[in-house]
């Protein structure tokens, strides 16, 4: 930076916001650390982070004065958003290469947060197709695939709606699971189709906690054992909620 170095407080608060956004969008702990360090160094500061699942603590030191800044921030609840992860990664390189100002960074972050790459109906259709794809891969035929599509779309819709109503996140998964398995369970109940079980098993797969589990493993391998264990438990809780939803359907249909 040739011109004046921005205030340490501003940089620290910005770094916390970036780190928190990355955490709730599904980045691994190491990625958060690397990205914040890269941005801090672009402004002539060095920073250290304490990363946990729901809070971040930062301490920023100036490289050429006695200034330092230390703060703690709670991160927002998690919702996977790879547009944000990818956008912040790209932005961090631009900050280094093009000397972005703090205002510019804030604008870019507000823009990234507001982007939704897919309209809601398209997400529903694509995820529904993914459900049918699973059903095919596990040996289902046309009827099972059609039912899985319907069940997945309905389940995802219910989950999105209950998310809007601010239910507990695990409860959202449970509602989605019950809805999807109640619809796909009809096939098994009345013994329609050649392989009705595939529809029941695959209609809830859109809920699987892929991001928490893979990030859990990545964190464990990087030595962020605490975060890895916590993310793993979060994934297990989601899996439990899915299983509970299917169990309720099985009990209702008495299968």
């Amino acid at each position: 930076m040739s011109d004046s170095i921005p205030d340490v407080k501003k940089v620290g608060a910005l770094l916390l916001e970036i780190g928190g956004l990355l955490m709730s969008s599904g980045a691994s702990s190491e990625r958060i650390r690397i990205t914040t360090n890269r941005i801090a160094e672009a402004f002539g500061y060095s920073c250290d982070l304490l990363i946990t699942h729901r809070a971040l603590m930062i301490s920023v030191n100036s490289n050429n004065s006695n200034e330092f800044f230390s703060s703690l921030k709670r991160t927002s609840p998690h919702g996977v958003n790879f547009t944000v992860v990818s956008g912040i990664s790209k932005m961090s390189w631009k900050i280094v290469e093009e000397n972005w100002s703090i205002e510019l960074i804030k604008e870019e972050m507000a823009r990234l947060k507001s982007i939704s790459a897919y309209p809601r109906w398209l997400t529903l259709v694509l995820v529904g197709l993914a459900g049918s794809a699973f059903c095919f891969l596990f040996g289902g035929a046309g009827l099972e695939m059609a039912v899985t599509f319907t069940a997945t779309v309905a389940g995802l819709y219910v989950r999105q709606e209950s998310h809007k109503l601010k239910f507990n996140p695990y409860l959202n998964v449970f509602f989605g699971s019950v809805t999807a398995s109640m619809i796909s369970g009809l096939l098994s109940k009345f013994d329609w189709g050649t392989n009705p079980e595939t529809a029941f098993a695959t209609s809830v797969l859109f809920l699987i906690p892929g991001v928490p589990l893979i990030n859990s493993f990545t964190d464990l391998m990087d030595g962020n054992i605490m975060n890895g264990v916590i993310r793993g438990f979060n994934g297990l809780m989601i899996a439990l909620a899915i299983a509970l939803g299917m169990l309720v359907s099985l009990m209702i249909y008495q299968m």
Binding site: I34, T83, A117, Y118, V127, F134, L137, F138, V211, F217
Partner: protein, 163 residues
């Protein structure tokens, strides 16, 4: 020939599943086709290895390693972190059937005792549970393997042939 068509058909549905999850995770639209391609290639690799009588765990590991390597290359070409390609692409390989049977097995194990087939049920449940767990671990390992092997903090520092 028929086998080839069948495998391509599977590849198509692997791609569809990967694209569905990419939409769920709000992956930028410009890279959607890459995710689909990676999902298909990984899935085809897994299917081919299973037809060669490899265990499903080894096959999943091979498929996810391929996805991991390709995601690093894609990250270079598309200027995005590798995980946004690799995570949606491996999800079609999750052992959904094993997990489902494991769950049913656990439910049945709590429900019955002293029935004749309890031991058989226990064996089956353990078999399904172990497969599910090891396949999941293989997928996570495979995806992160390329980054571990190259020992770089960012793929930007990785030298591919063009720079």
């Amino acid at each position: 020939m028929e086998d080839a068509v069948l495998i391509l058909e599977k590849g198509f549905w692997f791609a569809a599943a990967a694209i569905g999850f990419a939409a769920l995770f709000n992956v930028p639209r410009r890279v959607l086709w890459v995710v689909g391609l990676l999902g298909a290639l990984g899935g085809i690799t897994k299917t081919l290895l299973i037809t060669q009588h490899q265990s499903v765990i080894v096959a999943s590991l091979a498929g996810s390693i391929l996805i991991g390597i390709l995601s690093v290359i894609a990250a270079h070409g598309k200027h995005a972190p590798p995980l946004i390609f690799s995570i949606p692409a491996v999800i079609p390989m999750v052992p959904g059937a094993y997990m489902y049977r494991m769950m049913l097995g656990f439910i049945n194990l709590t429900a019955t005792l002293n029935s004749e087939n309890y031991a058989q049920l226990l064996y089956d449940t353990l078999h399904n549970a172990l497969n599910a767990v090891f396949i999941l671990m293989a997928l996570a390992l495979g995806v992160s393997a390329p980054m571990l092997v190259t020992r770089k903090e960012s793929v930007k520092n990785l030298k591919l042939k063009r720079n």
